[in-house]
Symmetry: C2
């Protein structure tokens, strides 16, 4: 028998910061909270951990419920545990961030939940401590993208170097010199040119690249 009986129990929620890259901007998927407290306020995508699922699985489930996506790049950010962070009842939240390709998610599911993309640099006031969470996650992916090719999760299968650069710029919040960027990227070995040319986004046409597996 365990000796835990006398300890209190808590609601444990999961909040997901779902990043997407759209119109040259880093976006976050938010929706209106459908229940109290904070009903009608803008909120991250979230839900409660269930009895028979791990916290990680819970995050995956919630992501799937809102986007239809599985097998997504998703990492834990932190646990938020202030006593009064949720004004209704005490809830401890474990926060995840996910990077998704905005061409793939299920827009019908998103509509059902009133989910919409907002620019990460122009975030509305979100409920509770959700703005803090987004800032922290944004900083985190900025650190990670300097070393790891996580951009593959945000971009379409084929992309131009200009688009890739725009992605880096919008994540890092800086502008990057085009030649330096291209040199740095070509020294890594995770992207490769396909023979294809994209004629949509420029008059001249640009080589399409893809991430290697």
């Amino acid at each position: 028998m365990t000796a835990y009986k006398s300890y209190p129990k808590f609601f444990v929620s999961v909040d997901c910061i779902i990043f997407g890259f759209k119109d040259g901007c880093l976006k976050v998927l938010i929706h209106q909270r459908p229940y109290e407290p904070g009903m009608g306020e803008q909120s991250l995508i979230g839900g409660f951990v269930q009895k028979n699922e791990s916290v990680d699985s819970s995050a995956k489930r919630i992501l799937r419920e809102f986007t239809g996506l599985d097998n997504v790049y998703m990492q834990q950010l932190a646990a938020y545990g202030e006593v009064e962070r949720d004004p209704g009842e005490r809830v401890i939240s474990v926060v995840y961030y996910a990077l998704i390709n905005v061409d793939n998610y299920d827009t019908q599911l998103a509509d059902i939940h009133n989910a919409k993309w907002v620019d990460v640099d122009d975030l509305p006031t979100l409920c509770f401590d959700h703005n803090d969470m987004v800032q922290k996650a944004r900083h985190m992916i900025g650190e990670i993208i300097k070393n790891e090719p996580i951009g593959c999760n945000l971009l379409p299968r084929y992309f131009t170097l200009s688009l890739l650069q725009t992605l880096y710029e919008s994540i890092l919040g800086t502008s990057i010199d085009k030649r330096n960027f291209r040199r740095a990227i070509s020294e890594k070995d995770y992207i490769q040119a396909t023979g294809m040319i994209d004629k949509e986004s420029s008059r001249r046409g640009a080589t399409l690249y893809r991430f290697k597996k």
Copy 2:
């Protein structure tokens, strides 16, 4: 009224990875679990979150109970939420790492709890997922010390450059060239020479340094 009633609640624990620097090695404070499940097994310092404290406060309280220390460098590592991670009952654990000066903690308190220092490179098998937690925390402080002067939390007030280098080596698990190390450190501006000379640790005597505030 909130709509949370139907959701399950969980025990939430805090585990603390308390790092210290002793005998030229990075150490972790562990003790024998005094209750089931896993009674008698080696365990990180931990406890349960209480009703009226935040998770952060809970970590501080637990650290204080085992070491007598307050105002310690302490950061959240992650939440661990596998369903079966604790074989007794479902417990979600939020893990913190702390860096303490081993000269300052309350050894009587530590004795009461059967706490002892073990070398982080020669860790016994700990209960549950505690070994994973330590590995992750160790990696984390390795990353952080490259950029931030967190060594100040582990060292005595005055220290020699050799001791500082040994600290870096034991955290990073590498050996570092003495001249390169001294150059790198002197380019930062967070330590300064005191006029004092330490005659204990070497025949010749070495300049004592301290961290600036």
